[in-house]
């Protein structure tokens, strides 16, 4: 199994632990990652203001991966959604594709439409498989309740992203449960984390985040598990800022899925960058079986 790893902008700059933990986990599971240094912005943050510039940015990444005949694995869900959307629309709209390709050809690239784009979770679920993951687990969690957060751009629009059933998804829950933890049901599990409005309408963004966290906590979660750079920073950094500002209810610590999985595979906390999270998650080690 060989994939081109797409990190996007946020992970290398502000969430290095997502990269290090994903690499560590995938290595143990026999997944080989290829780094393409020329990858650029996925286009997602530009789409509000300039659709074509966003598609162009996305398409360049797709063309780069295509030129190496690799399937892409994306860690961020917003990036995943954008790349999937760009691939989809360029297959649907030949005029747009031609226009984008005209620009790409200036540097010898072309989007042909062969590319396959996967999220980290899809690779773990479909390519590696839950059974293979379970085989590598040496210290399963006991009595750990996890609020599994799917992330909007992985689920919807479903006919574009083709990630899982958009209404009743189970993929991420199954991956969480493979570690021995319990993935609880909570009402707001499929809703937005609030990150797209951080910096745009912070009050609204904070409301959405807070509601989710309260709902997860009230449903009995010990931790929230995510697998997206924006969602994670929102639940981690922004939750911490909110606790400082809005008064401290007990935080619900978020953990990245490869961190959760990595610990149960016996990978050390430094490699998984546990200490790099803003909200302390060290207590999760107490749930590991001895």
């Amino acid at each position: 199994m060989r994939f081109a790893l797409f990190l996007g902008c946020t992970i290398p700059a502000r969430l290095a632990q997502y990269e290090s933990s994903s690499r560590a986990v995938l290595e143990r599971l026999g997944v080989e990652l290829v780094d393409i240094k020329e990858f650029n912005c996925c286009g997602y943050p530009i789409r509000n203001t300039d659709f074509k510039a966003a598609i162009l940015a996305s398409a360049r990444n797709l063309a780069l991966a295509e030129s190496k005949n690799l399937t892409m694995v994306v860690l961020c869900k917003c990036g995943f959604g954008m790349l999937k959307y760009a691939g989809h629309i360029m297959r649907e709209d030949p005029t747009l594709r031609e226009e984008i390709n005209t620009t790409l050809k200036k540097e010898g690239l072309e989007f042909e439409g062969r590319i396959e784009i996967k999220h980290l979770l899809s690779v773990l679920y479909h390519d590696v498989g839950v059974d293979a993951i379970k085989e590598k687990i040496t210290r399963a969690y006991k009595e750990l309740k996890i609020a599994t957060h799917y992330g909007c751009h992985a689920l919807r629009p479903s006919e574009v992203v083709e990630f899982d059933d958009p209404v009743n998804p189970t993929l991420f829950d199954n991956l969480v449960e493979a570690t021995g933890a319990e993935s609880i049901y909570w009402e707001k599990r499929l809703e937005c984390c609030g990150a797209p409005l951080t910096g745009v309408n912070d009050d609204l963004s904070a409301d959405l985040t807070e509601k989710k966290l309260v709902n997860a906590q009230q449903s009995g979660a010990d931790f929230l598990c995510d697998a997206c750079s924006y969602c994670h920073i929102q639940f981690d950094t922004v939750q911490r800022m909110l606790n400082d500002q809005r008064g401290g209810n007990h935080p619900l610590p978020p953990i990245l899925y490869p961190q959760l999985l990595g610990l149960s595979m016996g990978i050390d906390g430094d490699t998984l960058g546990l200490a790099m999270n803003q909200i302390d998650i060290s207590s999760i080690e107490g749930f590991l079986s001895k």
Binding site: P12, Y44, N48, D50, L56, R60, L155, P196, L204
Partner: protein, 583 residues
């Protein structure tokens, strides 16, 4: 005389320029907070910072950076071998030439008591260093104009620097070639060192020897010569000349020139060409010296300073006065190499949008102008602001900058300063603001909110109907054009299938967040779909809902009619911004 006058004039200009430039680092303002820090405070903080760093363990970091990043250019090597080779050839060999040749009176003669420019190894080394610089210059020209290295653009400053260097090197070699063949200079040397000019036979012998072996072109004597004459000449040569004159073949570049121009050497010599070349050579050097503080070559001083400062400074911990000073210095440390633009995550957007300020290396040039206080019109400022905001704060520019400039931090502070012009910037209403949101505690609350409000107001200003909520709206489509404009996204025209069930609004988490959503959001998602159906631009563009949409796609996923609600909202955002510019 002319030599000394021009030397002192250029030294004076260099010194004044240097002092002026250094002073600007203490009064130019790159950020909002630096506005409140007086120059005296910045000077004293810098002094304190430098002294306390030197007498702390951080000195080890500075030493490491000095050798690895400044002398050996590790950062350049990591990114691009050809560029590293080019630069190390130019700067390394030029520095050696400067120390050994240009400053020979002060350095080389002080170290080697028997130093003479015409003796080996100095004669050979001078040409060797010279040829290395020339290879470097050729590689630079090749990278820029033939290979066309990506994102490497050439502005006049870049071209002047190359021309100046080339002029210094070529004039030097031509001068050497001219001097080797010059009969006038030969005679002068004979007078000064041998005292033979009155003794005809001896003079003839020595001249024959020099014509045969040293490339001198004599008007009267031509090879071949008798062995006896040459032997006599050699004897005289050993007596009077050999002590401070190696064979010119060692100056292989100059000697090649001398050989090539042998046929016309006498004419050139009579016309005084070697003297002309000498003027060109030293004038080019002195012009370079005087121009240095104002040119790209100033990075010889500023880039190392930036590398050193950045290796020991920290956004959170360092004195804000020193950060203000460092940022002003960083503007001078940029040598426009384009490495940042090559690594830039959003550089690709430039290909479509066409605003050069998106590219970090070009943004830097514009920001220099902004900071210098030069007058700019609204259009120019807005383009700079737009290019500066169209950035994902991915830090790649900063990671690759060979001058160690903290570009990402510079963009951040300069954006905030540019917002003070009160021109609306629409990128603030996008996830590009995510990082600014995370950093909001470093910005005053009113400064933080102002650009967000301004952008929304600018879009709302063109949508009169939004403000007049009581007005009855004519149901005859007012603008069929709007529907035609919605053609970018996937099936954005699907809004016409809307039958008004309001599912989109009912599932929207943003709508659900408000007790009175209409008051907070203007129109609700289903109402926006109607407005698009009716072609009412004011309502479709003017609603706050557009900018408060989290793009979670719940509405679109749940729509029983398959209306691409989120895609329509996305596209309306694009159009609403365009609508502002249309006016």
């Amino acid at each position: 005389m002319a030599y000394y006058i021009s030397l002192y004039v250029s030294l004076a200009i260099f010194a004044i320029g240097l002092v002026y430039k250094v002073l600007t680092w203490f009064f130019l303002k790159t950020s909002l907070y630096s506005k409140s820090i007086p120059t005296a405070k910045r000077l004293s903080s810098a002094l304190k910072g430098i002294i306390s760093t030197i007498f702390s363990p951080k000195i080890l970091t500075l030493i490491k950076v000095f050798f690895l990043d400044i002398i050996l250019q590790r950062k350049v090597l990591k990114e691009d071998f050809l560029r590293w080779l080019t630069h190390i050839l130019i700067y390394g060999a030029f520095m050696l030439l400067l120390l050994m040749h240009a400053l020979d009176a002060f350095i080389t003669s002080a170290i080697f008591s028997n130093y003479s420019a015409t003796l080996n190894p100095f004669m050979f080394l001078r040409d060797l260093f010279g040829v290395l610089v020339i290879i470097g210059i050729c590689l630079a020209v090749y990278r820029r104009f033939i290979l066309k290295a990506p994102r490497l653009t050439s502005n006049p400053m870049d071209i002047y620097a190359i021309i100046l260097l080339a002029l210094i090197m070529l004039s030097g070699i031509l001068l050497e070639g001219g001097k080797i063949g010059s009969y006038c200079l030969y005679k002068q040397m004979v007078t000064d060192y041998a005292g033979l000019e009155e003794q005809e036979e001896e003079f003839k012998a020595l001249t024959a020897f020099w014509v045969a072996n040293f490339g001198t072109v004599s008007p009267g004597l031509r090879a071949p010569f008798d062995t006896e004459l040459l032997e006599a000449g050699e004897e005289l040569h050993e007596m009077s000349c050999a002590g401070c004159h190696s064979r010119p073949q060692w100056a292989f570049m100059g000697y090649s020139v001398a050989s090539a121009i042998k046929g016309v050497a006498l004419g050139l010599d009579r016309a005084g060409i070697p003297t002309v070349l000498w003027y060109i050579h030293f004038l080019a050097c002195f012009i370079g010296l005087a121009y240095l503080p104002f040119s790209k070559l100033f990075h010889i001083i500023t880039s190392p300073l930036s590398l050193l400062a950045n290796s020991v400074m920290d956004r959170q911990l360092s004195d804000p006065a020193n950060i203000a000073t460092r940022q002003a210095l960083e503007l001078d440390a940029c040598m426009h190499c384009g490495q940042c633009s090559n690594g830039c995550s959003v550089a690709v957007a430039f290909e479509h949008i066409g605003n050069v300020n998106i590219l970090p290396s070009e943004k830097m040039q514009s920001l220099k102008r902004v900071v210098s206080g030069r007058h700019m019109d609204e259009k120019e400022i807005r383009l700079i602001l737009d290019g500066t905001y169209l950035c994902t704060n991915c830090h790649r520019c900063t990671d690759v900058c060979p001058a160690g400039i903290n570009l990402e931090e510079l963009w951040f502070t300069m954006r905030e300063a540019l917002f003070q012009n009160d021109y609306p910037e629409f990128c603030v209403l996008s996830p590009l603001s995510f990082y600014r949101g995370l950093m909001r505690q470093s910005i005053a609350e009113s400064d933080y909110r102002r650009p967000l409000t301004l952008a929304r107001e600018a879009i709302g200003a063109g949508c009169a109907l939004m403000k007049d909520q009581g007005k009855t709206i004519n149901l005859t489509p007012s603008d069929r054009g709007l529907q035609g404009e919605l053609r970018l996204s996937d099936q954005a025209s699907s809004f016409s299938a809307c039958f008004g069930c309001q599912t989109c609004t009912n599932v929207c988490p943003v709508v659900a967040n408000y007790e009175n959503p209409k008051e907070a959001l203007g129109l609700l998602p289903h109402q926006i779909m109607y407005s698009v159906g009716l072609g009412i631009k004011d309502l479709a563009f003017g609603s706050q809902m557009l900018w408060d949409c989290v793009t979670c796609y719940l509405c679109q996923e749940q729509c029983p009619q398959g209306v691409k609600v989120t895609e329509v909202l996305y596209e309306l955002k694009n159009l609403a911004i365009k609508n502002v510019y249309k006016d």
